[in-house]
């Protein structure tokens, strides 16, 4: 029966990989730099379990993994092995791994971790009062800011009663009002708006929107900058280094301008013409971007590399399993490191390999076995830990042999392979519980002569791996007595690589998922990630802060703001500043005296050339005659100005400023036309 099934499976499956092919591909895998422990002169610091393959690799002179020699000869010296982390020396010792590790494949176990407790420092009485005072002030300030903004918001919501409608002739005001409007800058939305306008028959607006989309696309490509004061000619000038694009854009601009400023009618065909040309440029830019991104991704990593990325979670060390995955990939078996929880088995098609150290709850075992039985999946158990009772298997102490052979010598997938594995536990089957169980790999019976004791030692045949069929849908469970074969280092010995590949090829399995400690530890979505990282409180605070900021400032983020324009100070500002400095030094009266003297001299020069000594009255008469003012008023101003010329200790009054203004007016009126 078994032989029939094996023959049938062999006929259905692809041919087995031979040892030479497997060796070549294994060598290629191990030659990669990521397997640092295989590099010559490596300085890899091994853990205890990394050394399990040393004896077997040494027997082959480390030919496939030269650096492993250095690893095996590593002098631990003062290193404390306890610090190396992984101290589980006897993998496959049959102990219950569930008690040693809180299995990461089990989310429930993770949730049981002790919460982190944060204790606030014990503040003194004054410090506490100060803290609460500061908190109170902050709360009041925020509340005030919100209130103020709300009040301002209500004021802003009121109709602008004082704002008169823009005068059509006053384009400055119109421009300011227009500048307040939000301008659509999104290319796709502009195109959509153009389509909508065209559908409504507004072809003028549609052409304008389509053209705007073109400009925004060019702006997005940093070819032009769109400003309200820029003309189409300036946009073309900006494109002068892009000859081909320049011609296309010029053609579009001509067509648009014929509609906007010329006598051409804005109709459907013209809009379609503009749109077609705009789309040609816009879509080309999008396509170019897409091609650049696609080509970049193609250049960045080939498909094989992408597949290998799916193994990133697996370890590269001798005890890791990444090289095994890579070997499978090289033989067209999609291998990946499973990050999703085991609860999502329904999405899995192919095989699942439970690696060293995975500890599952009884529910998870049940789930897996149900999946095998119901969906016809393949489950490879190489945990070295406890096994579910349903399998009817138990570990038995192993004996000093490393060689492995196929239990069925006619199985062309496994027979003839040079298989080796470090000494470990064996398996024993309870036929009553597991009737459909076949031995897969066994340690053969060996009779060895011990020269030290001068005796013969007999090793009985011992099962190393079994295959159990479950359900009617060809589901099967393969159990290994130890996880040793499923490590990177195992590939350095014999035909172990071929065995692992053929294990799946024999049943035409093209997809394999590796389950280890980290399976299920990833989040399925960002919210779950935040929850797992316990960052809810931080994010909540940030959101509240942003909300408060929005409420306080009242302006949505990312709105475009005009940069502050720096401008040169005007002459008037210099004069004003100078005047303020005089005022600050209480020299206003002094300034008024100087100005009055200067003004009187200028007026005499203009109106009484050569007669500066004639006194104020003739000057007042001349000014009155020139300006049409009353002589009395002018005389009064001149007398006040003349009085200021006398030394005075006064600090200056508003009347001095008024006098200066009057004198300035007189100067302007008596002066020649500019």
């Amino acid at each position: 029966m078994t032989a029939t099934l094996i023959l049938l499976a062999a006929l259905l499956a692809g041919p087995p990989i031979n040892s030479s092919d497997a060796e070549r591909s294994t060598q290629e895998v191990l030659d990669q730099k990521r397997y640092y422990f295989c590099e010559a002169d490596t300085e890899y610091i091994p853990g205890p379990s990394d050394l399990r393959w040393c004896e077997l690799a040494q027997a082959e002179d480390y030919r496939r993994c030269p650096g492993y020699r250095e690893v095996c000869n590593f002098e631990f010296g003062d290193l404390d092995l306890d610090d190396l982390g992984d101290l589980e020396f006897g993998a496959g010792d049959g102990k219950d791994g569930e008690t040693k590790r809180q299995g990461r494949a089990n989310r429930g176990a993770r949730k049981q971790r002790d919460p982190v407790e944060i204790e606030l420092p014990n503040l003194g009485g004054f410090a506490k009062v100060l803290m609460w005072l500061l908190l109170g002030i902050a709360v009041v300030a925020i509340a005030y800011a919100i209130y103020k903004n709300l009040v301002r918001g209500r004021l802003d919501d009121d109709p602008p009663a004082e704002e008169l409608p823009p005068d059509p002739g006053d384009s400055l005001l119109a421009a300011k009002l227009a500048a307040r409007k939000l301008v659509e800058t999104d290319v796709q939305r502009l195109l959509a708006r153009a389509e909508a306008a065209a559908a409504k028959g507004d072809h003028d607006g549609a052409i304008a929107d389509a053209y705007a989309a073109l400009l925004r696309r060019l702006e997005g490509d940093s070819l032009i900058t769109v400003d309200p004061w820029k003309t189409n000619g300036e946009h073309l000038a900006a494109l002068r280094n892009k000859a081909a694009l320049l011609d296309e854009v010029r053609t579009i601009i001509r067509e648009v301008e014929q509609v906007q400023f010329g006598s051409a009618a804005a109709d459907g065909p013209r809009y379609q013409s503009v749109r077609r040309q705009v789309l040609a440029i816009v879509m080309r830019a999008t396509l170019a971007l897409g091609l650049a991104l696609g080509l970049g991704s193609q250049l960045a990593c080939d498909p094989n590399q992408e597949s290998i990325k799916a193994l990133a979670g697996l370890d590269n060390g001798p005890s890791g399993a990444r090289a095994v995955g890579e070997l499978l990939i090289r033989h067209d078996i999609r291998a990946s490191h499973r990050m999703a929880e085991l609860e999502q088995l329904a999405q899995t098609d192919g095989a699942i390999v439970l690696l060293k150290g995975v500890a599952l709850s009884s529910d998870e075992w049940k789930l897996l076995l149900d999946w095998v039985e119901r969906d016809g999946g393949t489950l490879v158990i190489a945990t070295g830990g406890s096994l579910p009772d349903q399998l009817g298997l138990q570990y038995v102490p192993g004996e000093g042999r490393t060689i492995l052979v196929a239990a069925n010598t006619y199985d062309w997938f496994y027979s003839g392979l040079n298989l080796q594995a470090p000494t470990s536990w064996g398996l024993e089957t309870q036929t009553r519980v597991a009737p459909n169980t076949d031995d897969l790999l066994v340690r053969p019976r060996v009779d060895e002569y011990d020269p030290q004791t001068s005796t013969w030692i007999n090793y009985e045949s011992q099962v190393y791996a079994v295959e159990q069929r479950l359900g009617d849908d060809e589901g099967r469970v393969v159990v290994f007595a130890s996880p040793d074969l499923w490590t990177n280092a195992s590939l350095a010995v014999g035909d172990n690589g071929a065995l692992l590949v053929n294990l799946f090829r024999s049943h035409d399995i093209t997809e394999v998922e590796f389950v280890d400690d980290f399976t299920g530890s990833g989040a399925d979505n960002p919210l779950e990630s935040v929850r797992d990282s316990k960052l809810w409180a931080v994010f909540l605070q940030i959101l509240i802060l942003l909300g408060l900021l929005y409420a306080a400032v009242g302006i949505p983020f990312a709105r475009l703001r005009d940069p502050l324009q720096t401008r040169r100070r005007s002459f008037v500002e210099h004069v004003e500043t100078l005047g303020q400095r005089y005022a600050q030094n209480r020299a206003a009266r002094h300034v008024a005296a100087l100005y009055s003297a200067w003004a009187l001299d200028r007026m005499r020069e203009r109106l009484q050339p050569g007669g500066a000594t004639q006194g104020l009255f003739p000057l007042a008469q001349a000014i009155a005659a020139r300006t049409g003012r009353s002589e009395g008023h002018v005389m009064q101003l001149l007398v006040q100005a003349n009085d200021l010329r006398e030394p005075s200790s006064g600090r200056g009054t508003p009347a001095d400023l008024q006098l200066m203004r009057e004198l300035s007016t007189l100067l302007a009126e008596t002066g020649s036309a500019r």
């Binding site: 301008v183 003309t231 189409n232 006598s263």
Partner: protein
């Protein structure tokens, strides 16, 4: 169709003049636009930049009569316009026309003559006629004045009054040519180019003055959208409210901007005006019509700065921004 004819003629004339005047394509363009817009041009530039050569070449290419007046402090108005001279034989006053009676007039260093003499050109430039002793005599058509002034020298010069300045359609500033252009000019001289003899380079007459008059009429067909009128009004209006400006541009400036813009549109074969036409010509049309405040002048602000700032503030009609 007529606009296309205009564009072809414009291109031919421009190409021919540019054969003589190297490296001054923009100046040639603006001068030609002013001619077709029936305007006059004030060229500001240091001596030796080919201003006289430009006018002579234009006269040859356009088939127009050319005369030159060198303005000096003792130049009298009658030296420009001409006057009545007593003829003893006829026992009567005979009108002796001055150099203004021409089609292309080069008023060289116009700011060296006093205001009275400068003003003798006012009527000629505005009405294309000269009135002497109550008799008005019309100038030959087309009449076009190119005046030059040196921006550096201020001693012994008389700044043009605002009324005179306003009658120039454009004020064109000419700078020194680039190094390569200057080498090309030298190369021309080495090969025998003589600016006093335009026949040596075979400068051809492209048009007759009758054709020039016809081309001047063609620009009237250029369509002007309401938005363009608004843009022109906005630009000119901003010169009047600019903080650095004492006296802004007049309505004549708006008209000049419009006509010059139409000429530019026609020269490019367009029968409609676009904002580019206005914006490109605004500096040349407005810079001499803007009188700055003294404090702005003290700060080193120039009319070009003001116009440039206005052009960067005034929104262009129907833009996507």
């Amino acid at each position: 169709m007529s606009v296309q004819v205009f564009a072809q003629a414009f291109a031919a004339i421009r190409a021919e003049v540019n054969r003589v005047l190297l490296g001054q394509a923009d100046v040639v363009d603006q001068v030609l636009l002013a001619i077709f817009a029936r305007g006059h041009v004030l060229i500001e530039g240091v001596p030796g930049l080919g201003k006289t050569l430009l006018v002579r070449a234009l006269g040859r290419v356009l088939g127009c009569e050319f005369k030159r007046i060198q303005f000096t402090p003792d130049l009298m108005p009658s030296d420009v316009t001409g006057g009545n001279v007593f003829d003893p034989k006829a026992n009567a006053f005979q009108f002796n026309p001055g150099p203004v009676f021409t089609q292309l007039l080069l008023a060289d260093e116009i700011n060296r003559a006093p205001a009275k003499t400068q003003s003798s050109l006012l009527e000629a430039m505005q009405d294309r006629s000269v009135t002497i002793d109550g008799v008005t005599r019309f100038l030959p058509a087309p009449f076009f004045t190119i005046a030059t002034q040196n921006p550096i020298e201020s001693q012994g010069t008389y700044p043009l009054p605002e009324a005179q300045l306003d009658r120039f359609l454009m004020k064109i500033e000419v700078g020194h040519p680039h190094r390569e252009v200057e080498k090309a000019i030298l190369r021309n001289y080495v090969t025998g180019f003589d600016p006093s003899d335009l026949d040596t380079i075979g400068l051809r007459q492209i048009a007759t003055h009758e054709q020039i008059l016809g081309l001047q009429q063609m620009i009237r067909v250029v369509r002007t959208d309401e938005a363009i009128l608004e843009y022109i009004t906005d630009l000119v209006g901003r010169t009047r409210v600019h903080r650095s400006v004492y006296l802004g541009a007049s309505p004549r400036a708006s008209i000049s901007l419009l006509t010059a813009g139409r000429a530019r549109a026609a020269s490019e074969g367009r029968d409609f005006l676009i904002p580019d036409d206005i914006k490109m010509l605004a500096p040349a049309v407005l810079r001499h019509r803007v009188i700055l405040h003294p404090d702005a002048e003290i700060e080193g602000v120039s009319a070009d700065d003001v116009v440039g700032q206005i052009l960067k503030e005034a929104p262009v009609p129907r833009t996507a921004a």
